[in-house]
Symmetry: C2
């Protein structure tokens, strides 16, 4: 294998593959990136126990300035290889596999000789039998992830809750995540013929997937296998393992009748929550208290050591019975961040019952749930 390439283009591809490469793995070859050069182009592969990423750089991609002298394959220690390529002096560089899996990397007057591993020993990625079960735009897929993944559980005590539950049925795709204290759910309509599915994808995989998808205009093909899911774009294959087990029935958790409703502008409410949480973070319980009465809407936070804060909140609309409710401001902050700059409606039943948050416009498609904290 001998090839000359544009350095910046190569670095970008390598950075994508590196998302799947951990230096902590116990399988030495998985600290490497597999580089496979054919006449059609350059395939790179990175993998760990959870995800595998394969990128393809076409040889006729003009920006890549690819000049192939001979094809072949090698595995190179990913972290070093990446640092070396980043620090090379010229805009292009040359890789050449020498004897004994050694690789010469040259650019300008700089010559590196690094030790590689035989590409034959690199594990094979899973084979996908059924392709293209569902197609989504990158923009829609990233939105689904952003709106749900923050609510997965960080604890391994119930592994199934560390994933996002995706259910496709009746031409609707539902994504839901919960750590049992809060929940976030988005439903989107799906057009065309689809086969239903019901899977749980690890939250960490989805976060890496989201970071690897850069072009919002592109389409992603999603294919589901026995215990893997494949996300395929024009030049990338992204595999993730699935979580095994039954996801709890979250449908019955979402209430549908309420006694109090209030409408907030997200940025204004978020700023007030952040102020209140400054002090609640120091307290033993980390709670803030929201009080809705006929006269005013107040938010309270306190820490016995530092002090206390109270703020009369600006709101857009309020209806129903007065209520006093306490909750963890960190859950509220995460929920509000997922909405972004819009108006939301928060609906309450009682101080000890979960409350819901929805965009004021377009209710039902995106809903969040927060469990309050009982204070007496």
């Amino acid at each position: 294998m001998k090839v000359t390439l544009n350095r910046a283009v190569f670095i970008q591809e390598l950075a994508t593959v590196q998302r799947a490469i951990s230096s902590k793995t116990t399988i030495p070859i998985l600290t490497g990136v597999k580089i496979d050069l054919k006449e059609k182009g350059l395939t790179m592969t990175g993998s760990n126990a959870d995800i595998s990423i394969e990128t393809f750089l076409e040889s006729d991609n003009e920006k890549a300035e690819m000049q192939i002298e001979s094809t072949g394959a090698i595995v190179l220690q990913a972290r070093f290889f990446s640092e070396i390529v980043r620090k090379l002096p010229e805009t292009t560089f040359t890789m050449e596999v020498l004897e004994n899996n050694q690789v010469a990397i040259t650019s300008g007057k700089a010559n590196f000789i690094v030790n590689g591993l035989d590409a034959e020993n690199y594990p094979h990625l899973p084979i996908v039998e059924r392709r293209n079960q569902l197609q989504l735009s990158v923009q829609m897929l990233k939105q689904l992830v952003t709106e749900t993944v923050f609510a997965v559980s960080a604890h391994e005590s119930r592994p199934i809750l560390t994933g996002v539950h995706f259910v496709l049925e009746n031409q609707k795709l539902l994504a839901v995540a919960t750590d049992s204290h809060r929940l976030s759910q988005r439903i989107i309509p799906i057009e065309g013929e689809t086969s239903d599915f019901n899977i749980v994808i690890p939250g960490k995989s989805l976060t890496e997937l989201s970071r690897s998808l850069v072009d919002d205009e592109e389409e992603v093909e999603i294919s589901i296998m026995e215990n893997q899911v494949l996300f395929k774009t024009r030049n990338m294959l992204f595999y993730s393992r699935l979580l095994e087990g039954n996801y709890p029935d979250t449908n019955r958790l979402i209430p549908n009748s309420f006694n109090t409703e209030i409408e907030f502008s997200v940025p204004a409410f978020l700023a007030a929550i952040e102020r209140a949480s400054l002090l609640s973070h120091e307290g033993r319980n980390n709670i803030v208290r929201l009080s809705i009465s006929e006269e005013q809407v107040m938010l309270y936070g306190n820490s016995p050591e530092i002090g206390k804060v109270e703020e009369a909140l600006n709101y857009e609309k309020v209806a129903g019975e007065p209520i006093e409710i306490s909750f963890n401001p960190d859950y509220m902050k995460a929920a509000l961040h997922a909405f972004g700059d819009m108006s939301i409606t928060i609906k309450f039943i009682a101080p000890i019952r979960p409350f819901t948050l929805e965009p004021t416009e377009g209710q039902g498609e995106f809903i969040q749930l927060i469990t309050p904290v009982r204070t007496n």
Copy 2:
């Protein structure tokens, strides 16, 4: 005390004082910032075992929008106070000392009540008898610090080497730092009448000082006391303790006859050193090798596990005998960063003798020394 202030201006002053405030101190009141409001303006003080900073915000500073209702003083826990002020909703805010050292902080509809401490219990800063022993521009003082402080020792085994040695005599100010492996020295001429001094200032103090000085056009008055030094600008007093003990005689370390000289452009040489050090960092010794012969100038780095690198270097001029010399590339990188974008001349005696680095233009004013590594 009751005062209304522009939030952004206040935050900037507080950030300066906070450089001297550690949350790890064993003296609780020192986790606080002392706020002292008089008719003339607002003085804030922060202090730790090494440095103390006092800033002054004039009441007639228009940007401060200061409205004083009553004067007074209080100590507030610095970290929380700063976070609270940063998160307040309006452009101005009001502080009012209530009973029992409680302080109301209000802005818009947000009301904080925080617990303060009696300002009477805050330690007094040292009194400076002799003022204005030396005057330097902020720009010159920051340059002196940048060019020397990186070379102080990070180890407490020889505490005196953790400071920068400043000597004023014969109308010249010399600043020198060494960790016994490398040395960096700058000499600047001083005009006007001065009293000589010979002090060692902790490197950490100088780094904080440098960060606290923002306006390059300003002048700094330097006053030296028994075991303190005071840097005074128009609105800031910066005190640092001095290190006790005798600084080693570094003059005799700097050689003055050489056998090989080479001239490099700093950015090009630095890039090559960074490439070579990628591999040397993985080796047991972390050394790179520079080889100057009549035909070419080569740089080598290697790591038994990863591989090796060699590079023919671009240089501007070379003279004298061939030499092969090995050194720690981290010392070289730090030295080159201190020069910035210029041409430097490196002068060698022998492979086991320290070599010097100087700007090609203006030699003698700024000189660095690196001890090579013996490889056999």
